[in-house]
Symmetry: C2
């Protein structure tokens, strides 16, 4: 009965006292939904970002094109007071030529579907060849030791746990192999690393993503292979020795300047209380960065657009922030928080959408331990507005780009759309506009706009 | 905060008294989810129904093949005591040769993507040609009258309201044109009817579905056209006269016998209280009837399979019922209720899944006015189990096939998956297994199994 019956009871009590005011907010939220569903522009923006510009790896020209495009689009929204870009430092890494991973087993060969992981070095133009050792986690390396790993290609093959309902949680459990696999394997003298793609699907899509080198190790190449290929390789390894030829020409080119995009609407009553809504403009280079995180950017832009369409005059200062470089170092998020702290700003609330453009399920929230209980208590009053839209609000993460704002002691919120299909597309060539459902995307924007509106109306 | 904070408070109180028992149920539900996600067979069954058998129009051989296949699969589940088929009378309608709808405007022609609607007559082998009159609802016909409509093709073009969040509701608002358009237009002498497909998408897929002829009218052909074609046609009609040539060879062949499929597990404690879970095995002839309603059938089969895998011994009698002919007359649902009433049975609860194989959102419930309040009050106790899975339980519809059981004064429940994408596929050639997400399908089965288990454990 998920709060519906208790909601009816609560509503009866509340309506005696403040029915009139609540009606106003409830009707405005209905307007937000109808405007978003009927006149949403978020899908038009997303199609341009994903299909016309394409993957927007931080440091690339595409990322700069994304900055210019969103800056120009935000400037056209009449409610917006100022639009500007904020410089930040980001790494420039290049994938290089198409990757080759060819395994040899007995008299057979098979070419695997592979993508170099972010920040990896290349193999050199000649490539490298070695025997493959399969492991199912970082800890296994210590047991195997240098005698088993030296000169080998380590194949990390622990799957995402299909039994987890929360795919984000399952991703978190599985992703350590991708991020740290190369560094750990290098310590034992491995020549390269292959990593099972982090997805619940068994398919032919390799998933890229960030990997980092520890300062004290010798960097070695690190590539993801598709889950179907990982399963095939694993089966071969049970029967016989398998070696692989790997070739990639990826390289790190050093730091460059890129930009966050910021649009601001000054508050009429409490201009010093900032409410931020944002996503990250950068993506991986493959695909179009549609769900990750073009969706979050256009959600945030749509919040401003819808409020503008509805002639809303915010009490507090609203900021739409499109962060640069979430995927590969958080350059934009860190630069934004640093500048905000320098100015002595206070973000009453910051909401990030970085979980895709799927049907909205709710929001998670977090903050400093000394202020969070007060916020949680106050948020209960929003139940009556969010329940009719089947949106939850519960403790949980905010978002990578907004986490650096935590010390300002505001509320950090994460938008949570349904997560079952997210890792079907995440960091792949399939993360394109075609795989986004327009109604789901627009509903996400409506849900976020509603919460931003409630915070602006009631404070926290 | 959607009941999460209040849930914590409720839980604290409850846990003092009955923590031990609740733990047992909560752990069992976790087992249900894990088993469904890891070992679910529902997708294998659905792939066979949708791809190997295909569309299962009541009265067709495919529908009978579906009966045989599901009967055989259910018989293999060890927990099942009896499996049988139950005869029912269904109409046999045939679509005939591929439909032709060609519009002529000025010197131009365009062929529209069309599908004959269920039960329509044909145009005859020569087809028919007439001028098109566009209307936006049944009521407009009276205003236009016989002088404007006689000898014309009436084009019903009222779209589904995109502003509705609940797509099922929007469908209900728009579908009268499809169901009653031909009968109403015929009263004013129209020669045929074209109907805008009932979907929120603008695309090239025509959507079929049931249409019925009133007893007192002259039947006329009735066909759906795609929304893109409807928009194109509408634009032409604003500029000039448009005529159409229509040809279809559909025909009604009269009544035949088909079957419901029933699997039963006798209850150990209260065998006379029946808990039914079901979907409908028939579908339209185009596509594979994957979301509508192969998904509901395999959900229901998976309920039994999961409980069997977990060695569960039900207190009450569980029945998995796959109904025949929901789409075109409810022959199966009516036959089932008639036989059940004849035997003096009592269905404590009946749950239908007929809204697709998408991510579960919750359940709606209904019943006779004199018993429903008691059920609703008792259902509140399930909050604590369903909230962790973000599942609501609220008043609303049960399902077409189970509604005839209402007079037994049990609880009727409808499974509600996310509905945003349902009408992208509904009654089209795109309603195939490829458009079902396996994790979403399995989660639906897990959600339903959990509720069936709770009702079996606690009663109502």
């Amino acid at each position: 009965m998920k709060s519906t019956l208790s909601l009816i009871l609560i509503s009866l009590f509340l309506f005696v006292g403040i029915a009139h005011s609540q009606d106003e907010q409830a009707f405005f939220i209905k307007d937000i939904y109808e405007n978003s569903l009927e006149k949403g522009q978020c899908d038009t923006w997303l199609q341009f970002l994903s299909d016309s510009i394409g993957g927007r790896l931080a440091g690339s020209q595409n990322a700069l094109d994304g900055v210019d495009y969103t800056l120009e689009q935000l400037a056209q929204i009449s409610i917006v007071d100022t639009v500007y870009k904020q410089a930040c430092t980001v790494p420039r890494w290049e994938r290089g030529e198409p990757e080759v991973v060819k395994i040899k087993f007995g008299d057979n060969e098979r070419t695997l579907k592979a993508l170099a992981l972010g920040n990896t070095i290349g193999t050199g133009p000649q490539g490298l060849e070695a025997e493959i050792i399969e492991v199912f986690g970082l800890d296994t390396l210590k047991q195997l030791g240098r005698k088993n790993l030296e000169g080998k290609i380590v194949f990390f093959n622990r799957p995402m746990n299909p039994k987890r309902i929360n795919t984000g949680y399952a991703y978190g459990e599985a992703v350590d192999q991708r991020v740290h696999g190369a560094s750990r394997a290098s310590k034992y003298g491995a020549k390269a690393v292959l990593v099972r793609s982090v997805t619940t699907q068994n398919d032919d899509l390799p998933h890229t993503g960030v990997q980092t080198y520890q300062a004290d190790i010798t960097p070695i190449p690190s590539l993801a292979i598709s889950t179907n290929d990982a399963n095939f390789l694993s089966a071969q390894l049970k029967a016989q020795k398998v070696s692989a030829f790997i070739r990639n020409t990826s390289k790190m080119l050093g730091d460059v300047i890129s930009y966050n995009v910021i649009a601001e609407i000054k508050g009429n009553v409490n201009p010093d209380e900032i409410i931020l809504v944002g996503g990250h403009l950068d993506s991986w280079d493959v695909g179009g960065g549609a769900h990750d995180d073009g969706a979050g950017c256009v959600h945030s832009m749509q919040v401003i657009k819808t409020l503008s369409d509805l002639n809303y005059k915010p009490n507090r200062t609203l900021r739409c922030v499109l962060f640069m470089n979430e995927e590969n170092g958080l350059g934009g998020g860190l630069a934004y928080a640093k500048e905000s702290n320098r100015k002595g700003e206070f973000h009453l609330a910051a909401l990030e959408s970085d979980s895709g453009g799927f049907t909205p399920r709710g929001f998670t929230c977090t903050g400093e331990a000394d202020v969070l209980p007060k916020y949680l208590a106050n948020l209960q009053g929003f139940d009556v507005f969010l329940d009719p839209y089947d949106l939850y609000l519960k403790p949980g993460g905010g978002g990578a780009d907004i986490n650096p704002l935590k010390s300002q002691k505001g509320l950090l919120l994460g938008f949570k759309p349904d997560g079952q299909r997210y890792f079907d597309f995440h960091h792949t060539t399939a993360d394109v506009f075609e795989n986004v459902n327009v109604r789901e995307l627009r509903l996400g924007a409506a849900a976020i706009t509603s919460l931003i509106y409630l915070i602006d109306q009631y404070g926290l």
